[in-house]
């Protein structure tokens, strides 16, 4: 006995609220589906990058020829058509230009056809790498030519073979993986390997077996199978995803961030739907009361409202889906310039399906509470125009429990890690609880205040109007704002750590093993500004008399205290350092220390954390078997995790000047200049080794930049979606508030006064929410950054203030927008509605 006309009438009578509800659902779905779709394509694009960084799906590494079992296994895969393999022999060798009698240590890569399976080796001539590298030829890095005074077409002596330079290489996809190279890269065809005659007893060869797996889903399985037959420990089987390339963690952080955004969006969507629905049903309470009064059963009412919600929900869902398709259609045009071309903005059907399911689940779950209120509504209460209670506490807790479980499940599903998921939800619940507590406390304080100005007083009183859901508004608003603020803060911190770690002045060449007596000469040869870091090798013997326990140290996952440390001396802070304890590096009681036979030392916070070292502690170092008693006088931290050298322990110059040391230097210079410097060093200071990381930095910077734009895109997308959701929920709740304005007007208040009261009231709400959200977002982001991402955290107070400011403007603006109609129109019409 459903009455569709009734439903239609109901929708029509509260069409504004219904519209907002539909809008919220549509927006939530749009965000979920689009973000989901894009993030999966971004993910595949990122995985593509990761693949390219290793040029293969599975990489087997050994210093010995592959064991027969492993070879057989690989052969089997190839026979079954599961995978293709290529062997890459990597090793150092002297390469000489016999004509000029010049030779240089070079980093050879002897490759089989197929390499690279992913990515491209780019050549200066623009030709295809596999076409160029043939038997008898080599492809070299420009710096090899510079060092050897050779040109393409010349022949070079490597091992026992004479090989002709066919081309120069510009980019190599897997360069960052082996970036730490003492010599320029030379590619040799596998056909020439025998002729080189360099693989013999006493040769150190990196045997890299690259596998391309035809079905991406099988990568992990095949790798596991290979690993199970590999000879440990010398044969290491890795996939492009778990290879310890350094870039891996970086990718992980960004993928995690994308997931985070997914969860946050879900939260926002839920909040939005719940608020809009709550407002919609509240609008209908009067009708419900009457219906109950004339004998309608709860069953009847609930089934009708459920149907109504379903209708509206379906409509919103369809709208959201069409919008996301539209968005997908126009997105390439909109973001073509911003997003990397490799990111396809395609919405997959499974994400649409997932989105639909999620949308339905969220609508269903979050409708439960408002619907329960409908059920518990007493007709009498309606006529007194009071609010029905939300029903039994038990039911309320039950609902909250179900929602929490649902959300926990989703989070775990997203993160694919139960522990992290549970921690995450616990953290969120904790923050929400804190939010509620602070809101309560604040409201209690505000309630007692009776300001003198009439408008302000009205604004204050307005917050405590009976039937007014101020507390609920503040909690929802601050919760959703916290989410948005957190996304922003985390994104900014990720950017600061990863992207801004690649400033243009980053050194691209490292110089090793400069002897103190060579420093002057080295500076002259370098000719440009460079940083010098004296390095003294030493071990830490004890902290405050407690000896370093080797076994315990061995367990540490990150760094450990039993390794040889690089001590240095200087009397200034580096650009990216800050003192966190102490007001100077070495304090002002140096003389006192000296009398006790101690020296001052400044410690970096990271190592202090590992060893629980505090200022005032006594560290005993063993500087090449000479004990050194050092008192910790200050604690330093690094403001940016830049690709710059850092030192755990900094001493005064006089302490270590006499100790055996070498100097490490880093500089930024043009390629041509570097070649010149290298040649001069080879002649005049031949013991100095040069590590050229320009290529690696270039590739990494490119990847970082790409990810940064993706992350920016996602962040802004979810922030905008979040804002829209917030706006609609403010609108929904504020709409109820405008009745007040009618009374003001009837009693002779000017629109200026009404505006003032509303602005003040909205300002109060916005300020409270903004500040609360700021607080929660700071706490949450700090936890995420320091615990999950393991990056340093900057609270960014200035930007936070701007965010709060925008919030205030937004809430006031939307609030005024919602009450605009009443300001201009005659009040009688509104009064009539009321009766």
């Amino acid at each position: 006995m459903l009455n569709f006309r009734f439903i239609f009438r109901q929708i029509r009578s509260s069409h504004k609220q219904a519209l907002i509800f539909v809008f919220c659902v549509a927006l939530s779905l749009l965000t979920l589906v689009s973000l989901g779709g894009f993030s999966s394509s971004v993910r595949s694009s990122m995985l593509k990058d990761a693949r390219q960084l290793h040029a293969a799906d599975i990489i087997i590494h050994s210093h010995y020829p592959l064991s027969p079992v492993l070879t057989t296994a690989i052969k089997d895969y190839e026979k079954q058509g599961l995978a293709t393999s290529a062997v890459v022999h990597e090793f150092y060798s002297m390469t000489s230009n016999t004509a000029l009698e010049k030779s240089v240590l070079s980093h050879l890569k002897v490759i089989e056809k197929g390499y690279p399976f992913y990515g491209k080796v780019e050549l200066a001539s623009g030709r295809d790498f596999s076409e160029v590298l043939k038997e008898g030829t080599i492809v070299v890095e420009q710096s090899a030519l510079d060092r050897l005074g050779a040109e393409p077409g010349d022949s070079l002596q490597i091992g026992s073979a004479e090989l002709i330079i066919a081309d120069t290489v510009i980019a190599e996809p897997d360069r960052p993986v082996s970036f730490f190279s003492f010599g320029p890269r030379i590619f040799v065809a596998a056909a020439d390997l025998e002729r080189l005659d360099l693989i013999r007893m006493g040769s150190r060869i990196h045997y890299n077996y690259l596998l391309k797996v035809n079905d991406p889903a099988m990568v992990d399985r095949l790798a596991d199978e290979l690993a199970s037959v590999a000879v440990a420990p010398q044969e290491r089987v890795n996939t492009f995803e778990n290879a310890e390339s350094g870039v891996k963690r970086f990718f992980e952080n960004f993928l995690f961030f994308l997931n985070l955004i997914g969860i946050f969006t879900l939260l926002l969507a839920g909040i939005g739907i719940q608020t809009a629905l709550g407002a919609l049903l509240r609008d209908s309470e009067y009708t419900i009361g009457i219906m109950k009064a004339v004998g309608a059963t709860n069953r009847f009412i609930c089934s009708h409202f459920i149907l109504m919600i379903m209708l509206l929900g379906t409509f919103g869902t369809l709208l959201g889906l069409s919008l996301s398709f539209l968005l997908q259609l126009y997105l390439p045009a909109l973001f073509g310039g911003i997003l990397p071309a490799s990111v396809d903005l395609v919405i997959a059907w499974d994400t649409v399906f997932e989105g639909l399911l999620l949308g339905t689940a969220v609508v269903g779950l979050f409708s439960f509470m408002p619907l329960r209120r409908v059920r518990n509504l007493k007709p009498a209460a309606i006529f007194r125009k009071e609010r029905g209670t939300a029903g039994g506490r038990l039911a309320q807790y039950f609902t909250i429990g179900v929602i929490t479980c649902f959300f926990t499940g989703l989070t775990i599903w997203q993160l694919e890690d139960i522990a992290t998921g549970i921690y995450f939800v616990l953290g969120l619940v904790g923050l929400l609880g804190l939010n509620t507590l602070i809101t309560q406390a604040l409201l209690r304080i505000i309630r007692k205040k009776r300001p003198r100005t009439l408008a302000l007083r009205q604004a204050f009183r307005g917050l405590f109007r009976p039937k007014n859901a101020t507390r609920a508004i503040i909690i929802t608003l601050s919760a959703s704002l916290s989410v948005i603020f957190s996304i922003y803060l985390i994104e900014q911190n990720l950017q600061a750590t990863f992207i801004q770690s690649y400033p243009p002045d980053l050194p691209n060449a490292y110089f090793l093993d400069i002897q103190p007596t060579q420093r002057q000469k080295f500076s002259t040869i370098l000719g440009t500004e460079a940083q010098f870091y004296p390095i003294i090798r030493a071990r830490l013997a004890s902290i405050n008399g407690r000896a370093i326990d080797r076994e315990i140290e061995r367990q540490r996952r990150r760094d450990n205290l039993s390794r040889e440390f690089n001590l240095t001396y200087r009397d200034f802070l580096l650009d990216d350092e800050q003192l966190i304890v102490g007001d100077s590096l070495f304090g002002n009681r140096i003389e006192e220390l000296r009398q006790r036979g101690e020296v001052p030392v400044s410690v970096l916070d990271t190592v202090a954390e590992i060893g629980d070292i505090r200022v005032g502690n006594l560290l005993v170092f063993s500087v090449q078997s000479i004990p050194l008693k050092a008192r910790v006088t200050s604690m330093r931290t690094r403001t940016e995790s830049q690709v710059r050298p850092y030192f755990y322990f900094v001493f005064q110059e006089e302490t270590l000047k006499a100790a055996p040391q070498t100097i490490f230097s880093a500089a930024k210079m043009e390629r041509a200049k570097l070649a010149e410097v290298q040649n001069r060093l080879a002649k005049e200071l031949p013991n100095i080794s040069v590590i050229d990381i320009a290529k690696t930095i270039e590739i990494l910077a490119r990847i970082m930049h790409k990810l940064s734009t993706i992350v920016q895109f996602f962040t802004s997308f979810s922030i905008i979606a979040g804002l829209l959701i917030i706006i609609s929920s403010i609108f929904a709740t504020r709409l109820a508030r405008i009745r007040e304005a009618v009374y003001y007007k009837i009693l002779g208040a000017s629109s200026g006064f009404v505006l003032q009261v509303f602005t003040l009231e909205n300002f109060l709400i916005a300020m409270v929410c903004g500040l609360l959200a700021g607080l929660i977002a700071q706490a949450g982001s700090w936890i995420v950054c320091s615990r999950v991402f393991d990056i340093s955290y900057h609270p960014l107070p200035g930007r936070m203030a701007i965010m709060v400011g925008i919030t205030v403007l937004l809430v006031i603006g939307v609030g005024i927008g919602a009450s605009l109609s009443i300001l201009q129109q005659k009040p009688a019409g509104f009064l009539r509605d009321e009766e």
Binding site: R43, H63, Y92, M94, N566, Q624, S641, V643, A682
Partner: protein, 244 residues
Amino acid sequence: MKVRITKSAGKNLCKLLLCLLFIYVLAGCDRQDKPSSNNPQPVAPARIYEGTIIALGDSLTAGLGVAEEEAYPAVLEEKLQQSGYNWQVINGGISGETSSGALTRINWIIAQKPDIVILETGANDGMRGIPTWVIKDNISQAAKLLKEAGVEVILAGMQMLQNLGPDYTKEFAAVYPAVAQEQKILLIPFFLEQVAGTPSLNLPDFIHPTPEGHRIVAQTVYPYVVKAIQARRLDRSAKNKKNR
């Protein structure tokens, strides 16, 4: 909507870059910088020794990847003690050090007044392709300074990885006999005799010996040390006579 992910507890790339850098360059040419204890109690040794031997060297001496008591200097001392030579062997190895670094700290070594120095260096130079004449000059100079300070020098002969090419490896191997001859010092023909190139005696990095490898190294070094000790004893008694 789902994005697959592995839990991240990531160190960031930059840290890693540097970490690698330092481990590579300054701790020898491998990342497997397993912690090895060095709890030196150099202050007031409990016992009086007849003399002091400093094993000056790089990661092969320091014992990268094995515990310090498993590295060859410790094994050597044990061996000497067992054979009745009450001599102390100090591990003066610094991972990643080149012959230039060794030369730079030679005065520091001399200041510790050793009777005998086992000079093991040059491997890192070789792996970086440093011209062999540089290595030769450094070792030669270091040996000369040690001798001038009245220290008995044992030079550990080294060979380079074959992949560097026949010319370089030949030149490299020739450095040690040449210096030994020139400076008239004891020469261990090849420090890693029977160890280099044998998978079971080396860590997976191919370069650094396992504890078993270090025992063989100690075996190889031992007769030369005994020779040096005897030379030292002769020298001492000659001095004593003169003083009398």
